[in-house]
Every structure is written in structure tokens, then in C-alpha cells.
Symmetry: C2
Subunit: 480 residues, 2 copies
């Protein structure tokens, strides 16, 4: 699988100098933006070079056998190209062309022809009807047509992260990538699998166990081999967040016209997800909004949440949401309330803790009192950034969360644009709504419990002296 | 009630030159940012002037009886001030001070004292524990402490709109106002009612029937007089969108510490809302995201929705959401499908209509084919702005919607920042997620049906000749 994400040489089949040629956009990206270090060949009827990459009119004429072939030609020409690739000894192929099983009977027949040729020759195929792969660390990307945002995309490659995406639709892949400009997502790899005639989501879940991936985000329109997917998911030691369309009949029919999805029974799929410990997403935005809770914060190891706000109303709103999500408004112990009283400026020492205009130290004191309290499993700070110092306290909060091994889902009830700017500049995992923050806590706990249930970790030993601050024993992680 | 929003003279009681004085922020706003044309007096112990407004140490010394008194002093001093106001003949008072019924028994006693003094003297009171009123058309605002964003606020006053907000919490009022910078909301009036010892949400719903208001947005933490609210709502000829906290016990308790809300039974409230045709919001963001569907688009008069996308996957995702919301993916008639086939570039002529790279005219043709189809009640365009011309077609779409008297809920599946910028610049009612777009259609239809059920409008007469394009007869509006 590694070869798909880190080929040392590639051939782009169908790239030419014709205006609007899609293969050329792949060449431009590799050369101009990624300074891809491997060899690149192009194939077209004239055998012409594209953006300095040497051109050929037959695969058999290539001076070497490339690690990877990227095909972006009319569907009807694909079967013959596959045969040539086989003859040349190419073992990895990305078919980006559309017009196969999603397009009716003729397309299905062609797809079968391709499958057979691949199987006989030991070739692994990604697609058809896909964008292929992107790897930030390897500075490789074979997505076509993403030119207008390429300059911005550069930032994705400059700061690789630990989230990997498996996305059936190219359009959604691009949407998710666009969201990376403003959300706190560090990308490791993105793969668009399209009709997935060979390589599928389960293969990729297995593969992402072996690399830098920490969280797997998925978008699926159909599941061809449910058993294989669920087996891969059950074994996964990394959280899997999945958004699947086709929940309703109308959605399933719409998906069929797009990537040839079959109408899977949604309630069966839902059950299977629960068993396989897959976290099912409620909206497509959660693909980019939730992973930061896993990459930037410890897991939530219980359901008892303390809220801390400088903006009264949000305590009430969010208490409703917490209960809806199956979490609890923790009843703060008399000791904790006593400490809060001493911190000063506190309007309400019960949960939600509510403060008026207070200096930075008060914020830090309250963070520490709540995170160190034995009865508190996690924190929900609902803090308006009414003074710039609030941002500094949030940076300290992130350190405290690591120290106490308890998470905080931060929401800053200011205008969205301001919060997004703060998040991007200071790399603070800020959620855009209180719904998102509560959801992040809920999902974090769901994943923690799935680790326990699968015996991937053992339950933390309760501390003997309940008064001993900072004595919380972290969960002993069996997982790497 | 008008006097609260358009006083010809005011006294700010508690404004002084002490650093961080909150009353002074009201004076600064009236003078520096709003160039308020009425007379402003200030009252403080030294009788000192504030920002050029003359100061007095006793209300009785004021040279005239102001239309409105704004009180922002410690709670314990309020009862005596009310008595002075009564003696001076002041009939309208906004009490912004906190520390009344939300703060325990002493506060409650004080609040009763104020209520009595007001009743005896025929004074109407707004608050306590509130921000008071803002009116864009009258260029009046008595909110305290909003200085840092005042310059931006100027834009709200420069382009008045037709949405009015009744918001119990000051914090939420400020949040909603901040959201106006980036969402498509034209504000008429905003009022923060706090503990609402006298003027309440029902009084304001009645009042908003008489002015430029087209949509009423509300945030409530408690309902003191449910019968009065529901009666006002039933009579309202303008849609009422309400977010109420305290759905769960935890939320109700949290609300109590904030604005002295009583734990109302939520399921009873929910039932009452349905009967009174109040639209209950699912998140606080809907306070700013939904009104544009009412102010910028015709109402949705049926449930049959056509989707149109240039980004395949979104059709499937949104079809699921439509069904969840109780709307229908319309089955396009053979005639409509035939017309779509002729439009060219269409991958899928069934719903969701899916197109590839196409010129602007194709977009316009498809808008017209779908909106003019008798079987279609509303449109859900899911259009990526892959070329700038897509924005121009959206501007045309808005005109077509008015022509055919059918709405479109527009979603542009590009990165949120880009969509927000387009929305602000071109004033196109773009929703930020497909969930929001579907929700907007659903709410629009809910309100349309409530107008029918209350006999505020009559059902449109079906057209005789079903083939006659542009023959849709608009609902005869009884309401103004």
C-alpha cells in the first residue's frame, strides 16, 4: 500500500498540452508546487512532453517500470491501458477516469474487464472514478484539478499532521481539504477511493495502523464488503470517524448515481458500527471539526463534566446539550466549591462555574481547581475572549489538560470569524459551537470506552487518598 | 413601547468618569458612534458631566422630564432611584443593574419593591439584569460595555433590516449581534429583557406587529406568563423563531442562577409552541442563520424539493437530510426530465440533478426548468463556486425565485470562509451547511402551513392548465 502514497516514479497516462487537460494539472502540481523528487513520465497520443516531463505514446516505450501509473483518460480506453501496464510490469494503478459501474451496464462490463486483468497480473488498483492519494510527509499528490487552491494547499504540505482521511467521493475530499485552511487539522494522508473495485476502506484502515496516523476520518457512499470493513475497524487502535450517506432510501438512490453505491440497510450498518467501535458522524463537518479532540487533548475517561463560563447564558444552553449527549453536569464537592470561593470573582461556585470580569490568574486558578478535582472527568470552558489575555490562559489550559490527563473542549462564544482566527493563529483546539464542543467530549469518551471494552487498555487504578491533588493515575495505555 | 426604542431624551443614571464605569460606555456610544439627536443627561454622586453630557446629583434637578431613564448602579440603590423617577414623572425605565431575583431572597425583595413603585406610578420597566434596547432605524442603543466592537456595529446601524430580536440574556444578545457582521441579517431592533419584572416577550411580540419587523427571533431562559406569550404568538402575523434553554433539568438549574428562570416543564412548553405556531430552534446559531430564509426568499408552499448540484456527493448527503426533515425528493416529471436532457451537460436528469463543467447559461436554464415545474415546490442548489460566474447565476436565481414565488435554500460546498465572504459581498442568502439549508426549507414550510391553519392566508388555487409555465398563482396574502 505504501507505494500508492510514496512512489519513487510515476507515469501520468492521459496528460497532454490540450487546454483544460486534467492530467496536466497533476503534472503541474507535482512539479511546480510539490517539487516531487521522483521520476515523472507522461503518456499521450502525440507522445509530447508536459511541463518538462518526458512524453511517450506507448507505455511499453518507457525507459523504466514506474512504481505507479495514474490513468486519466476516457473510460473506454482504460482496459487496453491496463493490459499495457501489466505487460510493462506496473503493479500499482490509480484510475481517476469516471464512467464505470456508476454509469450503467457498459461501464460495469468494462470494470469487470479491468478487475480480471489486474487480478491475473497481481496489480493493485485504486478507483476508478477517484482522485487517488495525497501524502503530506512524502510531498506526493495525484489529485487532478485542484489548481486554484494549490498555493494555499502548500500549507498542508508544510505542516504534516496525524489525521488520515479515506474518502469515497472526490468532491468531498476537496471539501475536507478546503476546511483544513481554517480548522485545526494536521493531515497525514488523504485518499479518495471512488468505486473501489480493488483497494477499499478496510485495506486502508489496516495500512493506517502502520504509519503516523492517529485518527482516521472516513466518508463512504456504500460498503461492498461489510465483514472486511468491520474486522479492520475492530482491530484498529486508532479512532475511526465515519460519515456514511444513504441512511434514507432517497439518499441511497442519489448515492447510486454518483459512485455506484448499493443501497445498504442503514440500521444494520449502524449496529455493525457500534459493534466494531466505529464512531458514526452526524454531519460532514464533523470530519474536520472532531479530530482535533483526539490529536490535541487527552481522552475523556468518565462522563462527569465541569463547565466554566464568563458568559452566563452559555452555561444554561450547554447544560441542556450535555444531558442530551449522555454526559453529566458534575456536582462539585464541598471542597472544590470552597476552593472556588477563595479564587474570588466567582458568581456561581456550583456547576456551571460563572465568573465576572476577572484577571488572568483567576482563570488559571479555576482551571486548576476543576481539573484537579477527583469528581471532574473533563472540562467545558465557555469563555468569551473579551480581553486578549483569555487566549494566553487557554494556552496554559492546554498544558494543564496534559498534566492532569483530562480533556477540555473549548468553546469561545464570540463571533465565528474571530474564533477561527484565534484557532488558526494560536493552534488552540477551539470548537465553533457549543454543540460541537459537547459532541467532541461525547465522542472522546465513546472511544475511550471502546478501548476498555476491547481490552486495548486497562481501567485506571482509583487513587487511595481522594484529597491528594495531582494524583490521578493515567490510564495505562497498552496501545502504542 | 415605542418610547423604549425611540426616546427623545434620556438620563443615564450611574454614568461617571470613574475608570471602567459601565454607564459611561452608554454615553460614549450615544455620542461618539450614534450621534444620537436627543438630549442626554447623566446622574452620579458628584453631579459631574460625562463625555460632554451634563451631570446632576439628583433626578429632581433635571431641567426636563426625560422620556427614558437608564439605570446602571448597584442593585441596593435602585429602589430609591425608582421613587425619584416616579416623582419626576419619568414613565419608562430600563434597569440594567444585576443582583435582583437571580441573586436570592434579598434581591427578590428589592425587585418586589420596584415593581410596586412602578405599578402605583404607571411606570413601565424593562429588566432588571438586562441590556435594554437597540433600534437601527432610530439610531438608538442603551447596551452597556460593547465598546470594542462599536466601530463594526456602525455597519448594523447603516443598513437597517427587518429582523427583530427579543433576547433574555445580555451575553446572547451580544453574540447574536456579533454574528451579524458575517451573516446575512438586517436588524430592525434588539431588546435584552433580563429578569423581565414588567415588560416581557409577549408585550414585545405585540409591539413588533406594528413596526418594520418581518421576522422575530427570541432567546428565552424562562417563561413567567405562558398564556400571555402563547396568545401573542398565535396572533402574530410574523414568524417567531425561539430558542429556549432549560430543556433538561441540568439546563433549567443553570438558567436559574443566571436570570432567575423557573424550571418550566419543557414538554409542555414544546406542545404550547406547536399550538401557538412558534418555530422552536434547535441551536442558538439558528437565531442568525434562519431569518434570511424569510426575508430573502418566498415561503415554501409544499414539501417537494428538487436538488441541483455540480458536486455529486452532496446530492446523496442532502437527500438523507431532506427525508429526516420530513421533506420529499420530488420525482421529476418526464417533461421536466426531457427539458433537462436538452439543457446539456447534465450527468443525471433525475433528482438530484447533477451537472459537470458547464457554462453559466446551463445553470440558468436548469434553475428555470426546475422552478417552473409544477411538481417542484422549492429548490436546493448545492453548487460549488468553482468559477466566479456561479455567483452571478445565484444572483439571477434570487430573481427567478421571486418570479416563480418558490424558494431556494442555497448551499455552496466550498470552504466556509469563502462562502461567508461571498454571502457578505453579494448579499446572497447562502447557508453554511447542507443541514442549515434543509432546515431553512423545513422551517419555511412549517410557517407557511401555520398561516394556512390560522386562516391568515388561503390556499393557492390550482392552475387549470398544468403545462402553462409561469402560471403558478401565488398565495393570496391576507396579512399585510
Amino acid at each position: 500500500m505504501e507505494t500508492f502514497f510514496d512512489p519513487k516514479s510515476v507515469v501520468v497516462i492521459g496528460a497532454s498540452n490540450t487546454p483544460f487537460n486534467l492530467g496536466a494539472t497533476i503534472c503541474n502540481m507535482l512539479k511546480d508546487y510539490l517539487q516531487y523528487q521522483g521520476a515523472v513520465y507522461v503518456l499521450n497520443s502525440k507522445g509530447e512532453a508536459v511541463n518538462g516531463y518526458p512524453g511517450y505514446s506507448s507505455i511499453l516505450d518507457l525507459p523504466e517500470t514506474p512504481d505507479l501509473a495514474i490513468i486519466i483518460v476516457a473510460a473506454r480506453n482504460v482496459p487496453n491501458i491496463i493490459k499495457d501496464c501489466a505487460q510493462k510490469g506496473i503493479k500499482r494503478i490509480v484510475i481517476e477516469s469516471a464512467g464505470f459501474s456508476e454509469g450503467g451496464e457498459d461501464g460495469e462490463a468494462m470494470q469487470r474487464e479491468i478487475d480480471d486483468a489486474a487480478r491475473v497480473n497481481g496489480i493493485r488498483i485504486m478507483g476508478p472514478n477517484c482522485l487517488g492519494t495525497m501524502s503530506t510527509r512524502n510531498k506526493f499528490c495525484c489529485f487532478y484539478g485542484v489548481n486554484p487552491s494549490l498555493v494555499e494547499m502548500g500549507q498542508i504540505f508544510e505542516s504534516p499532521g496525524n489525521i488520515s482521511y479515506i474518502i469515497q467521493s472526490g468532491g468531498v475530499a476537496v471539501l475536507v481539504m478546503e476546511s483544513l485552511y481554517y480548522d485545526l487539522v494536521g493531515v497525514n494522508k488523504v485518499v479518495s477511493i471512488g468505486n473501489k473495485c480493488d483497494v477499499d476502506e478496510a485495506d486502508l484502515i489496516d495500512y493506517f495502523q502502520t504509519d503516523e496516523t492517529e485518527v482516521i476520518g472516513m466518508y463512504l457512499e456504500n460498503v461492498a464488503n461489510g465483514r472486511k470493513l468491520m474486522e479492520a475497524a475492530r482491530k484498529s487502535r486508532k479512532p475511526i470517524l465515519i460519515y456514511k450517506v444513504g441512511r434514507t432510501q432517497a439518499g441511497a438512490i442519489a448515492a447510486m448515481s454518483h459512485t455506484a453505491g448499493m443501497a445498504n440497510n442503514d440500521s444494520i450498518f449502524d449496529c455493525a458500527c457500534k459493534q466494531a467501535r466505529i464512531i458514526r458522524l452526524k454531519s460532514i463537518d464533523e470530519l474536520h471539526s472532531l479530530p482535533k479532540m483526539f490529536t490535541e487533548m487527552p481522552l475523556l475517561k468518565g462522563k462527569r463534566i465541569a463547565m466554566f463560563t464568563n458568559s452566563g447564558a452559555f452555561g444554561s444552553i450547554t447544560a441542556d446539550l450535555l444531558v442530551d449527549a449522555g454526559l453529566q453536569m458534575v456536582r462539585l464537592s464541598p471542597q472544590t466549591q470552597e476552593k472556588l470561593k477563595k479564587a474570588g470573582q466567582v458568581f456561581n461556585i456550583k456547576n456551571p462555574v460563572d465568573i465576572g470580569p476577572a484577571p488572568p490568574q483567576t482563570y488559571l486558578d479555576i482551571f486548576d481547581i476543576l481539573l484537579s478535582a477527583d469528581e471532574v472527568d473533563g472540562l467545558l470552558p465557555l469563555l468569551s475572549v473579551w480581553q486578549p489575555f483569555v487566549i494566553d490562559t487557554l494556552l496554559e489550559l492546554m498544558k494543564m489538560c496534559k498534566h492532569y490527563d483530562k480533556p477540555a473542549a473549548i468553546y469561545t462564544p464570540n463571533a465565528i470569524a474571530k474564533s477561527i482566527a484565534i484557532r488558526a493563529k494560536h493552534r488552540i483546539p477551539i470548537f465553533e459551537t457549543s454543540e460541537q464542543a459537547v459532541r467532541a467530549l461525547s465522542v472522546s469518551n465513546e472511544y475511550y470506552e471502546s478501548l476498555l471494552k476491547r481490552n486495548f487498555i486497562s481501567k485506571p487504578v482509583p487513587t487511595v487518598n481522594l484529597d491528594t491533588k495531582r494524583s490521578i493515575i493515567a490510564a495505562t495505555e497498552v496501545a502504542s
